[in-house]
Symmetry: C2
Subunit: 350 residues, 2 copies
């Protein structure tokens, strides 16, 4: 029955007239029969993207009360009509947890039937069928218990959820696992690097600190905006120096890093999700150094023009959320760094 | 008289209460006496940023006629009050051409008194004093004849205008000289790279093609949007293959590049100034390859999320307009590639 050849990006399941990638598509083909390079997952839970859920919640709130039934109905309607969970307003999706049900003979993902996995590509491009009407969900939380199935393409990413960690902990780590993997790769290119992580007490920041140390950094500096985070991070023992600075103030950030490290950073990792940190990150970085921008608040033009205006010979990377083996590496960091694990567990408990 | 120590970024000339970089400052100190690491330029011409000039022109146009005198008065007022030419609406500046008048004893820029130079950092951060009331300017063009002086900081960039090329030609090349320099550096890291340049018939695109060849690329593919540009580029002989594709269509772009080159690109250089080219550039790039984004229309989040959604292990660079020696290198490319020079001369003649 499958006549079209499959494409690793999932093009073969796009039903739109125009040829677009699955993420941009209006509607996906959700047939349960697999193309040879695909994998089918029995879904157990959807985690809606936070921005997406908030939009739905606002839309269906009247007099301060959210109509969970209406939220549920809209999610069901979106998935039924589009064949994927992509919020039409925010464009975002989320991720899912489930169990591998069938593996196509040509799948390159290395999964086996029965593996419990989390998908690390967005729901906004994942073919999805909901079979239980979301009967167990009250529509009031972004965590959606769900029975149904989803399809992964040749180029999708799914990570096996380990047995030795609480699932919530694994998911929290996997959500940001691109950051430590790329940090490790970049730090490893320098000999005894000085590394500064901006926004170091957060999820991606603390993982990046651990990754930098792990990749052979000589000095690791964590920058945070206020004392409470500084205390938290100092307690975790992930950084040689913890300093407080406003990352939007270029001179303050440069001075904080150079004073703490004794020099500018070879690698500066930006994990703080506020706009206006480009100039400071560039100034805090030594000539020949690298800035990795993981913050979605990064302005491309502010980074490009900022470096030019400062005649800064720095390499600036768009933080790619995908590096092969990123999920396993991030979980390994968590297991290996007691302080990192405590940070994550403390966050989950709040 | 100079009591504050100088800072290579020009902080010592910022007069604002809050500590900000010169580009963000409301007002700069324009004293003609130099700090030891500074250089003073006798200005001969300002080139206003195109977006800035258009804004001024629109503002002072009534009944289809632009009041050049009013444009001139506003530029004079901006420079007098701010100590720099930064359009308060667009935030942009421009560049200037002039002659080196004095070089501080600690200047690292390598300039000599009498050198005719173009500044490659924005006027929006350059201390400037206009001394002739712009009497020779009619206010109707972004090219502004001007007598006055400007100051360069330790980290500024200025390039000597060569004697053997028409000044307009040199300036056109210098305006985009970051692109070929960074392309050369990245291509040189691969062994016999396959390189695709998107928007290859433009200024930065054609220079990047020549740089890729120069840096040892095995195959160089130029992508353009339509036949006229394809003919122009084919005539210039800068690419092994010239293909027509809409860079906003990811699948079309991938297919165009892989068909022309026989494989995906190791290095993809995005020089086309339209939004929505991130996905195609990522798809056209091989695993382990690099995408260099030079277009100011690049969306940071589209690039980051696009690569993640495609599970693409590609390095994505924010095209930094500064690489040491970039202006000299770009001019060298122009001299060495007859076809490149013809493209630039043809453009100037239009």
């Amino acid at each position: 029955m499958t006549q079209v050849a499959s494409d690793p990006t999932g093009l073969h399941r796009v039903l739109d007239e125009q040829v677009v990638l699955p993420q941009a598509a209006q509607r996906l083909d959700t047939r349960s029969d697999l193309w040879p390079d695909e994998v089918r997952i029995r879904v157990e839970r959807l985690n809606l993207d936070a921005a997406s859920f908030r939009q739905l919640e606002r839309k269906h709130t009247a007099d301060g009360t959210c109509d969970g039934g209406a939220v549920r109905a809209e999610v069901l309607e979106i998935v039924a009509s589009r064949g994927k969970m992509q919020n039409p307003v925010t464009g975002s999706g989320g991720m899912l947890v489930g169990t591998v049900e069938e593996v196509g003979e040509a799948s390159p993902l290395g999964l086996r039937v029965g593996d419990r996995v989390a998908t690390l590509v967005s729901l906004s491009l994942t073919p999805l069928v909901i079979e239980d009407g979301l009967a167990r969900w009250d529509g009031l939380s972004e965590q959606v218990p769900c029975d149904g199935y989803a399809v992964l393409f040749g180029r999708s990413i799914a990570a096996v959820i380990p047995d030795d960690l609480a699932p919530e902990l694994s998911l929290a780590v996997m959500d940001v696992c691109g950051a430590p993997a790329l940090t490790s790769r970049v730090v490893g290119r320098y000999d005894g690097a000085t590394v500064a992580v901006i926004g170091a007490a957060g999820k991606s920041g603390s993982l990046s600190l651990a990754a930098a140390r792990d990749a052979g950094a000589h000095t690791v500096v964590g920058v945070v905006p206020q004392q409470a985070e500084a205390d938290l991070l100092t307690g975790a023992g992930l950084a040689d120096q913890v300093v407080i600075a406003d990352a939007r103030d270029p001179v303050a950030l440069r001075d904080a890093v150079t004073t703490a490290a004794g020099r500018a950073a070879d690698v500066t990792v930006v994990c703080v999700d506020v706009p206006g940190c480009e100039g400071g990150a560039i100034l805090a970085t030594a000539e020949g150094g690298t800035v990795i921008f993981f913050s979605m608040a990064t302005s491309f033009s502010a980074a490009a023009l900022g470096a030019e205006g400062l005649a800064a010979d720095v390499t600036m990377l768009v933080g790619n959320g995908y590096v092969p083996g990123h999920a396993a590496y991030a979980l390994e960091l968590l297991r290996g760094h007691e302080g990192l694990r405590s940070l994550f567990e403390g966050r989950a408990g709040r």
